[in-house]
């Protein structure tokens, strides 16, 4: 479900997140790319898979049942994905993809700040 709030968030992520290559909103229930700033469908699939499979790992430990991820990071040799579930938009995840040279702490801090701003937590 694309909304002006999501569009505004992606624009801010694309400009504020260090070394940002792409920003997107993904419906992790079906992997649909809800909105994008430079991201392709394949990136949406990666985000969905990250949420589904890390949830499964968490569930496997002590049979945790409340395992829905709030934040997921993926690091590769060339990219860093930082993803945040949006509380005001159930099932929708905002994600920013940066070059691997970006400072991870800064990525997380900016992502949390921008998401909190549009979610009304700031």
């Amino acid at each position: 479900m694309r909304t002006p709030v999501i569009d505004d968030l992606l624009t801010r992520l694309r400009t504020e997140v260090p070394d940002c290559i792409a920003a997107m909103a993904v419906d992790v229930r079906d992997g649909a790319l809800v909105a994008s700033r430079g991201a392709e469908d394949a990136a949406a699939d990666v985000v969905r898979e990250l949420f589904v499979h890390t949830r499964a790992v968490t569930c496997a430990f002590r049979s945790a049942d409340d395992a829905d991820p709030q934040e997921v990071i993926m690091l590769s040799a060339g990219r860093a994905y930082v993803c945040q579930a949006l509380k005001q938009h159930p099932g929708i995840v905002a994600a920013a993809v940066s070059a691997h040279t970006a400072n991870l702490g800064m990525l997380l801090a900016v992502m949390r700040r921008e998401v909190a701003a549009v979610e009304g937590d700031a």
Partner: protein, 274 residues
């Protein structure tokens, strides 16, 4: 074409998982024995749900062989002590520790590897028969959980790689308050993963360890197209799961404290991004 020795061993490893799950679930907390085939073929003694002794007529290596390498006594001298212990009903390993012949840690490691590798051998046999019995004479610290046995069962042929994976796990977690697990990748097995180590918990079951390993493998496979080498997932309450792959092994860490886990991610990310 016949299967290679390694493939035959890994198929047996898959059966070991089933055997250990049997001990954990069908006989949870119970004491008794699992008898394989005829009485002389093999036996596993279980005390309060933990394996204390496993013996197989097909095992080429005996516990005394393992201990002989760790002490200065001759095989003959060890055999004499072993016979005395058997005649008097005294536990052999504890006797060696009491007499200062081996340290407790050496005994425990030798006993763990002996039991784990014997179970792996026995897992290739038809399903055993369970006989409840009153077994209470073993020192509880010399009995083993299914997860410990599972994590050491592959040492016979993957020992150096398994030891390296355990070292990597300990180095990554250091003194952080986290539970960690390590797995080797074995594409020829049904599960493609072989659990080889864990830290930070005493109450992990073989089933739980396998379930975590299988899920972690799927998670890393799912992001392999994007070159993913490390994934960290945090819940709203701060509890965090970190999965990473390094040098052919999978690792998983669970922690309750977001900041504690951030140290682990920071340490690992420097290498993941190299």
């Amino acid at each position: 074409m016949s299967a290679s020795p390694e493939v035959r061993e890994t198929n047996r490893f898959d059966r070991l998982c089933v055997l250990l799950e049997t001990i954990d679930e069908l006989h949870a907390g119970q004491s008794g024995s699992l008898s394989f085939g005829s009485a002389s073929q093999g036996i596993v003694l279980v005390q309060s749900g933990r394996v204390c002794w496993a013996a197989s007529s097909m095992m080429p290596t005996r516990l005394t062989d393992r201990l002989r390498h760790a002490c200065t006594l001759s095989e003959h001298s060890l055999q004499l002590i072993f016979r005395d212990c058997r005649a008097s009903g005294t536990p052999f390993g504890e006797t060696l520790v009491e007499r200062g012949i081996v340290s407790f840690d050496v005994l425990r490691t030798a006993l763990l590897q002996h039991n784990a590798e014997t179970l792996l051998q026995l897992a290739g046999q038809p399903a055993p028969q369970w006989r409840p019995a009153k077994i209470e004479q073993y020192d509880p610290s010399l009995t083993f959980t299914s997860a410990e046995l599972l994590a050491h069962s592959a040492d016979g042929w993957w020992g150096p790689l398994a030891a390296a994976a355990r070292d990597e796990l300990r180095a990554a977690l250091r003194d952080r308050h986290a539970v960690g697990l390590s797995f080797l990748r074995a594409p020829e097995t049904a599960d493609s993963i072989v659990p080889v180590g864990f830290v930070g918990t005493d109450d992990l079951s073989a089933r739980e360890m396998l379930a975590i390993g299988r899920a972690a493998e799927r998670a890393m496979q799912s992001c392999s197209a994007a070159g993913g080498r490390l994934v960290a997932s945090t819940r709203a309450d701060g509890r965090t799961t970190v999965i990473w792959i390094d040098d052919g092994a999978y690792y998983v860490a669970f922690g309750d404290d977001r900041s504690e886990m951030a140290f682990i991610v920071a340490h690992l990310s420097r290498r993941a991004l190299e």
